[in-house]
C-alpha cells in the first residue's frame, strides 16, 4: 500500500513540472507589453525600462524560468503588475470564495445527484427513470453562463416580491462587513488566519455573525446551483449506470435469495460497489467546477479565483495569470491523486494489481 502511494505520488511529479513549464511559457507568449498594460498612459520608455528591470523582464528566458522555479519552490509567486500586491496575497483573498462556491456546488451535485441516480437505477425503465434521465441530459447540455443568467432573472426579477427572491450577484449585501474571527477571538493576525477568515460562511458561523451568515448563504445559492447543474447531471447518470451494472451481479442475487430486505440489498450491498466509478466522476467533476467557476463568478460578480484569473488575462497581468493557473492546475492534479487514493482504499483489487 505504502509503495503504491509513493509510486502514484512520484508519477505526478513530471506532470507538475510540465505544468510549471507550460504555464510559464504561455504567460510569456501572451501578446502585448505588460508594462504598458499595467501603467497605461503613464508608460514612457524610461519608466518601462525601469519597470522591466524591476520585474526581471529583461533577463533571458531561461534565466527567468530558473528564477521562476526557485520562487515557486519558496512560495513566492511574484507581484501583481496591476494591483501591486503579491500574488499569494491575492490568492489568500480570492481562493476561499471559489473554494466555498465549489464546495457548495459539489455538495449539491453529490447529495442530489447520487439519490436521483439510485432511484433512477432502481426503478429502471419506469417513468421516474425516464424523467430523471431526460432531466440529466438537459442538465448536461445547459451552458453554465446561460443557466446563471436565467436563475438571476427568475429569482431576482420574476419572483422579486415573493419570499423566494434571492440576491442575483455579489458575495454579501452592500454595507455588510464581516469581522474576521481572529479579531473576535483576539488571535494574532497572519496570512493563514486571513485566508481562513475569507471563508465568509465559516467565519460568520463560528463567530455568530448571523446577519452576515444569512446574507452570505443567500448569495451563494444561485451561483452554487448554476455551477452544480452539470456535475449533478453527470453524477446522476453515472450512479444510475453503475448501480444497474452491480444489480445484475451474482452476489446481489445471493443477497436477495438469502432473504435480505430489498432496502438493505440496494443501499448496503449494491450501492457500495456502485459508488466506485462515481468517486472517479466526482474527482473529474472538480475540473468542470474550476472551469465553470470562471463563468459563474463572472456572471454573479464574485471576486474568486475564476474572475480574478479572467480579469488578469484580459489585462495581461502575467504574474497573476501564472500564479493562479498554476494553483488551479496543481489543485486539479492533487484532487485526482486524492481520488485515486480513495479509490484504492475503497477497492482493494486496485492495490493487488
Amino acid at each position: 500500500m505504502a509503495r503504491f502511494l509513493l509510486r502514484r505520488f512520484i508519477s505526478s511529479i513530471p506532470v507538475i513540472i510540465g505544468i510549471l513549464a507550460l504555464v510559464f511559457a504561455l504567460a510569456r507568449m501572451i501578446p502585448g507589453d505588460p508594462c504598458r498594460a499595467a501603467l497605461g498612459e503613464r508608460a514612457t520608455d524610461e519608466i518601462c525600462d525601469a519597470y522591466n528591470e524591476r520585474y526581471g523582464l529583461n533577463d533571458p528566458i531561461h534565466v527567468q524560468f530558473g528564477i521562476y522555479l526557485k520562487d515557486v519552490a519558496t512560495g513566492d509567486l511574484g507581484e501583481s503588475f496591476r494591483f501591486g500586491v503579491p500574488v499569494t496575497e491575492l490568492l489568500i483573498q480570492r481562493l476561499p470564495t471559489t473554494m466555498e462556491l465549489a464546495a457548495a456546488a459539489l455538495l449539491i451535485a453529490v447529495f442530489v445527484g447520487v439519490p436521483l441516480g439510485i432511484i433512477s437505477g432502481y426503478r429502471h425503465n419506469t417513468k421516474t427513470d425516464v424523467a430523471t434521465m431526460v432531466g440529466a441530459n438537459i442538465g448536461v447540455a445547459m451552458p453554465v453562463f446561460w443557466l446563471g443568467l436565467m436563475l438571476q432573472y427568475v429569482f431576482a426579477v420574476f419572483l422579486r416580491d415573493t419570499p423566494l427572491a434571492l440576491p442575483p450577484s455579489g458575495k454579501l449585501d452592500a454595507g455588510l462587513i464581516p469581522v474576521p474571527f481572529y479579531e473576535v477571538w483576539g488571535l494574532p493576525e497572519n496570512g493563514f488566519m486571513e485566508f481562513l477568515s475569507e471563508f465568509t460562511l465559516m467565519n460568520s458561523l463560528v463567530t455568530f455573525q448571523w446577519e452576515i451568515f444569512s446574507s452570505a448563504f443567500l448569495h451563494l445559492i444561485l451561483p452554487a446551483v448554476a455551477l452544480a447543474t452539470i456535475p449533478l447531471a453527470i453524477i446522476a447518470r453515472m450512479t444510475r449506470s453503475a448501480l444497474l451494472d452491480v444489480l445484475g451481479l451474482d452476489y446481489v442475487r445471493t443477497a436477495r435469495a438469502k432473504g435480505l430486505r430489498e432496502r438493505s440489498v440496494v443501499l448496503k450491498h449494491a450501492l457500495r460497489n456502485a459508488m466506485l466509478p462515481v468517486v472517479t466522476i466526482i474527482g473529474l467533476s472538480f475540473g468542470l467546477l474550476l472551469g465553470g467557476a470562471i463563468l459563474t463568478e463572472t456572471i454573479f460578480n464574485l471576486a474568486g479565483v475564476g474572475k480574478t484569473l479572467f480579469d488578469a488575462i484580459t489585462s495581461r497581468d502575467y504574474t497573476v495569470v501564472q500564479g493562479f493557473t498554476l494553483v488551479v492546475a496543481i489543485s486539479f492534479v492533487m484532487v485526482n491523486l486524492l481520488v485515486d487514493l480513495l479509490y484504492t482504499y475503497l477497492d482493494p483489487r486496485v492495490r493487488v494489481s
Binding site: P14, V15, G18, I19, L22, L26, M29, I30, P31, H124, N137, I138, V140, A141, M142, P143, V144, F145, W146, L147, L149, M150, Q152, Y153, A156, V157, I234, R237, M238, S241, L244, P277, T280, I281, L284, S285, G287, L288, L290, G291, G292, I294, L295, T298, I299, L309, F310, I313, T314, V321, T325, V328, A329, F332, V333, N336
Partner: protein, 340 residues
Amino acid sequence: MSDDLYDPSDRPLEPTDDQPLDTVEASDAIRDKVRMDLAGGDVGAVTSGGLWRTAGREVLRKKSAIVGMALLSILLLLAVFAPIIAPYPPNKVLFDEGVSPRDPPCVHLFGCDEDKPQHILGIDGNGRDYFSRIVYGARVSLLAAFVAVLFAVVWGTMVGLVAGFFGGWVDNVLMRVMDVLLSFPSLLLAIVVVTVLGPGLINAILAIAIVTIPQYARIVRSSVLSIREQEYVSADQALGVTRWRLLAHRIFPNTLTPLIVIATLGVATAVLEIASLSFLGLGIQPPTAEWGSMLAAERNQVFTAPHLVFFAGLMIMWTVLGFNLLGDGLRDAIDPRLGR
C-alpha cells in the same frame, strides 16, 4: 463526460471496410467472434452488412438517438437554409423600419398589433432581427465545432497511433505531454491559449482543438495497444507485412469505432466551449451572429429583455443535447454491452 465509461481497450472490433483480412484464418475466427458479440449471438444477421449496418439499425431502435438526430436535423436545416428561413440578413439594422432596441417578440398570430412589423423573437440591442441572428448562428456554431473536433481527431489520432504503435520513449514523451494538457481544466486552458493566439473564430477553434487532442490520443493509443496484441496482427507480422501497412490497414481502421463515438460526444463539448469562449469575449467577435457572443452582448439586459438571453442559450442547449443523445445512441449501438 459519460465517455469516461467507455474503455475500448479490451474490445477488438471489426475493421470498417469489408475487405477480407488477408488469408489468415485466425483473423476470421476473431471477426466471427466479434460479430457474434455485436449481434448478441446471431452471426448470420450481421455477415451481410457488417458492423456499420448493424450499428445503424441498432441506433434507429434507440429512442434517445432518434430524438438526437431529429434535433440535429432541424439544426442542420436551419444552418443550410438560413438565407431562406431568416426574414432579414443577420446584421441588418432595422431602425428605419419602425423598431426600437430590444423590442419584445411580436407575433401577429399571438395577438401582437397587426400594425407593427412581425419579429417573432424580438429585436436586439442594435436593432437587428433576433430570429434571423439565431438562425444564422447555427451556421457558425456547427461549423466551428465540427472543424475543432476534426482538427483534434486528426492530431489526436496521429499522436495516439504513433505513441501506441512505436511504444518506448516516443510513447512516454507523447503521453506525458498529453497528461500535462489534461491536468488543466479544459476551459481554463482554452482561455489561456486563446489569449496567446488572440481572440477570434479561428483561434477559438484552434484552442478548443488543442485542449481536446489528448482525449483522442488516449483513446486511439489504448485501442492500438490492444489491437497490436491480436492474433491477426501477429499473423500479419509473421507474414512479413510492413509496419506502415500494418498501421494503416490493420490497426487504424479498428480505432475508428471508438473514435466516432467519442468525436460525436466531443462535438457537444466543443459547441459548449466555443460558446463559452465567445461569451467571455475571446471567441467569435461581434457583429458575427453567434449564440455565445449574442448572449454576452445582452447579458446586462437580462433583467429588462430576458428574451435576448433566453433563446441564444436555448439554441446552445439544443445543439449540445442533440450531439450528446446521438453520441450515446451510437455508443450503445456499437457496443451493446455498455448499452441499456
